[in-house]
Symmetry: C2
Subunit: 95 residues, 2 copies
């Protein structure tokens, strides 16, 4: 599935709810979901981690929709196929 | 760009660094990036928000790689094109 296609799907399903909620409360939802993901990592609850990552991703996309940000464009700018700091295809930056 | 293609790209560039860092410290990086995104939202720094969302997304993908989770599979399960709670293509769940 294309990143852009996923963003459009989330817009179709949730944009109305996202607009009602607003940007700042959507950010708070992301923080809440990060809490759930952190807990799953802390407990090494591998069953749950995939679902929680998907949830955080979907909430990020909702936030992008509220700012009319095209996530795929942003991803291509920041992650063009090599590390943008060291320029290598396998990152060699200092830790 | 496909979600799966992005995940493979992040694996190619960063897997070695991700494995060295480990799961729990990768989760802490995500939390740190969420802090940057929260700040950009709080300041309404629209210039920055897209980049910060892309960063959180890339770190989520790194975490998925460390658990050998296919993010696209997880996304399709949880977001099949309608709200999985109310079943509607435009979500009608209570707030």
């Amino acid at each position: 599935m294309e990143i852009r296609e996923f963003q459009e799907m989330i817009r179709r399903i949730y944009e109305e709810r996202d607009r009602e909620r607003g940007r700042e409360r959507t950010m708070l939802w992301i923080v809440e979901e990060i809490g759930e993901l952190s807990q799953a990592v802390r407990k090494d609850d591998v069953e749950n981690i995939g679902e929680e990552i998907a949830d955080v991703f979907a909430w990020l996309v909702s936030l992008a929709n509220l700012y009319n940000i095209d996530l795929e464009d942003e991803v291509r700018k920041k992650y063009p196929g090599h590390c943008i700091r060291c320029g290598k295809v396998v990152c060699e930056c200092d830790s």
